[in-house]
């Protein structure tokens, strides 16, 4: 279907339409020196003219004269926290004198429209769907939140130096999983629909069809965004080469640098590990069973009665990388990396997954 054109001056109309349809709008905003996703009511609160500079261990926002709202690459957070909650109660138990009652906790379904989602995060969402919904035990909390999402993608035209989605095949153009996809130009937005929900939502906006020239200019910008990416992962399925190189000297080199802090797993849009804990009320009669994000870089992650399977950083980094780029293929039919580059920018010591994978798989050396 041909895209419609929404002038920038009418962006508020899109927000109003979403609000009227019952959605809370979540959109990017420049706050605390980063692009963050939070509730948005007014288009004027979008990060107009904000751009970013990212490199290993560095993330900085810059202000430009551009009229655009989406002229930046992803910040630390995106879709994951809205479907796989960083912390959520799962069930509660109540103890009486002679019994324990268990009760589910309704995840309070709320319709969320998330605006400005990038192709890398849509690919990551597909992977999280496979993990949380398509196995033998679908997760009810994830399913509720996922079913209530309305996704407005924006094709990426401003990749950071840390981005490599073109090499993983996941961007910069959004091709799947969205309800609406926008291309932003200096004048406004080409609006493309990806679902019946999306078509129904924009019908009342009566958008004029985009011109061929507008469409061609958009395509050129997206292609240019792919070409500008300076990083790449080695091509193909890296599982065999990684598992054949479990004793590679490179693991020692990266373990010397890695702080085992878990920042990479917190910002990774596909990492799914979590732990569960009980929080008991002070009167002792009610206990909440909570789950929260965990990381394979923690001591507790592999602990079993008196021993830790991965006691050192060498084993933990190797677990993370061999899982992400290796065993993920067996579990979910593709690599667990979508090329968003967050783990590179947010690593306090600037470890670069593309550099490590290249050294391990193509025999390169550490610069």
């Amino acid at each position: 279907m041909k895209a419609g054109f929404l002038p920038r001056t009418r962006f508020q109309k899109l927000l109003d339409t979403l609000h009227q349809a019952g959605y809370r709008c979540i959109a990017p905003q420049a706050r605390d020196g980063a692009i963050v996703y939070d509730t948005l009511f007014r288009a004027e609160d979008l990060p107009r003219g904000v751009s970013d500079r990212q490199s290993p261990g560095t993330y900085r926002l810059e202000h430009t004269d551009s009229p655009r709202f989406f002229s930046w690459a992803n910040g630390p957070q995106a879709l994951k926290p809205f479907v796989f909650s960083p912390r959520e109660p799962m069930w509660c138990s109540e103890r009486t004198s002679d019994a324990i009652h268990f009760a589910e906790i309704d995840p309070a379904p709320e319709q969320l429209a998330i605006i400005g989602v990038r192709a890398c995060d849509l690919a990551a969402l597909r992977l999280q769907d496979r993990h949380f919904l398509e196995g033998p035990f679908p997760d009810p909390g994830y399913a509720t939140r996922r079913g209530n999402l309305f996704l407005v993608a924006v094709h990426c035209t401003h990749p950071a130096d840390t981005c490599f989605c073109a090499s993983t095949g996941d961007g910069p153009r959004a091709t799947q999983n969205f309800d609406l996809a926008l291309h932003e130009s200096n004048e406004g937005y080409l609006v493309q629909t990806g679902s019946d929900k999306g078509r129904a939502l924009i019908a009342p906006l009566s958008l004029a069809p985009a011109t061929t020239a507008q469409q061609q200019a958009a395509d050129r910008e997206i292609e240019e965004a792919a070409r500008r990416q300076v990083r790449r992962l080695p091509a193909g399925n890296l599982r065999d080469v990684l598992f054949e190189n479990l004793s590679h000297a490179r693991w020692e080199v990266v373990a010397e640098r890695c702080l085992s802090c878990g920042n990479c797993t917190a910002v990774c849009p596909t990492c799914f590990c979590h732990n569960e804990a009980d929080e008991t009320e002070l009167d002792g009669h009610r206990s909440l069973h909570v789950r929260q994000w965990d990381s394979c870089f923690t001591q507790g992650h592999s602990y079993i009665h008196g021993m830790t399977i991965r006691a050192d950083t060498h084993a933990r980094y190797r677990q993370w990388l061999t899982h992400k780029l290796g065993s993920w293929h067996d579990q979910y039919g593709r690599s667990g990396c979508v090329g968003c580059g967050r783990c590179i920018a947010w690593c306090p010591v600037g470890i670069d997954i593309t550099e490590e994978a290249t050294a391990l798989c193509e025999g390169g050396t550490h610069a």
Binding site: M90, W91, S93, R95, D98, A99, I100, H101, F102, E104, H131, F132, G135, P136, F137, P138, D139, P140, A143, F243, L246, F272, C273, H274, N275, E276, A277, D278, T280, G284, S287, H289, R291, D294, C296, H301, S302, Y303, I304, H305, G306, I309, R310, H314, A315, R316, R318, Q319, T322, H323, S327, W328, H329, D330, Q331
Partner: protein, 277 residues
């Protein structure tokens, strides 16, 4: 949508002290309909929830045809198990399960069975021993190898003595340290392979215990030409959710809670004994 995370209430019907630190909880669901519908296979596990403290995976040690109760033998080592050690008959706890893939007992029918255990990992395989003994005509020879660190660690000692008297059954027990009147071998259980009498071309081996012990056993079995896909082992990894979601129990691409905990050695082999996996 069925919620796989929500426990059901169960009652401790009986608590049996097996040793100073090991105890067995005999459980039944308090909802009679749920209890009647409950089925498991030997080698599967339940998640046991101690109110206000947390959940732990524990293998089911009783017979799958026992409709009255299901049993868990537990060693008090951590926060949850030490709390569970305080439970008495009549107390309540939460149970989710059964989870995972159990022992290949159908495939094992008509064959020699060899059960190898080291340390205190005996509960998952004791369920196999009892299963075979209760259905003795379905299986051929039964060889039981059990190793413990100290002779005092051997629980169910009288059972081993009884089993050793059964027809077509061989019991080989060893303790690294043997106290006075210890009737069995002193040393590693894996030193007793020369005494094993089995039809190695058809025997099914099921084992559980420390990985080092299992690796030595696999090597010994290899020398006797036992095929790798006739060797099964129960793996132990950290588990929080039991349904393949939380990620802790991953062993390469396997989720031990969902794809195991019982694996054939040919499945487990690529990373077996590899530090960090």
């Amino acid at each position: 949508m069925h919620n796989p995370h929500l426990p059901l209430e169960a009652e401790v019907v009986e608590r049996i002290k097996e040793s100073p630190t090991i105890f067995t909880l005999r459980l039944g669901f308090t909802d009679p309909v749920k209890h009647a519908a409950y089925r498991f296979a030997p080698g599967q596990f339940n998640m046991l929830y101690l109110y206000g403290v947390g959940e732990i995976p524990i293998s089911i040690v009783s017979d799958p045809d026992d409709e009255r109760l299901f049993d868990h033998t537990i060693r008090a080592v951590g926060r949850v198990t030490r709390g569970m050690a305080q439970l008495k008959a009549g107390d309540r706890l939460g149970v989710r399960g059964p989870f995972g893939r159990g022992w290949p007992l159908k495939r094992a029918e008509g064959r020699d069975i060899m059960v190898i255990t080291g340390g205190l990992g005996c509960a998952p395989v004791v369920s196999v021993i009892n299963y075979v003994i209760r259905r003795r005509d379905k299986f051929r020879r039964l060889v039981i190898m059990q190793g413990v660190k100290h002779s005092d660690d051997l629980i169910w000692r009288s059972q081993y003595a009884q089993w050793s008297k059964l027809h077509d059954t061989q019991v080989l027990v060893a303790a690294d340290v043997g106290a006075a009147l210890w009737p069995w071998h002193v040393g590693h259980v894996t030193e007793l392979f020369d005494q094993v009498e089995i039809d190695s071309s058809h025997a099914m081996i099921m084992m559980c215990g420390p990985q080092g012990m299992m690796q030595v056993a696999v090597d010994q079995l290899g020398k006797r030409h036992v095929r790798e896909d006739n060797i099964y082992l129960s793996m132990e990894r950290s588990m929080n959710c039991a349904v393949g979601l939380c990620g802790h129990c991953q062993y390469g691409a396997k989720f031990v809670c969902r794809d195991g905990p019982v694996f054939s050695y040919s499945e487990a082999k690529p990373l077996f004994g590899m530090r960090g996996f």
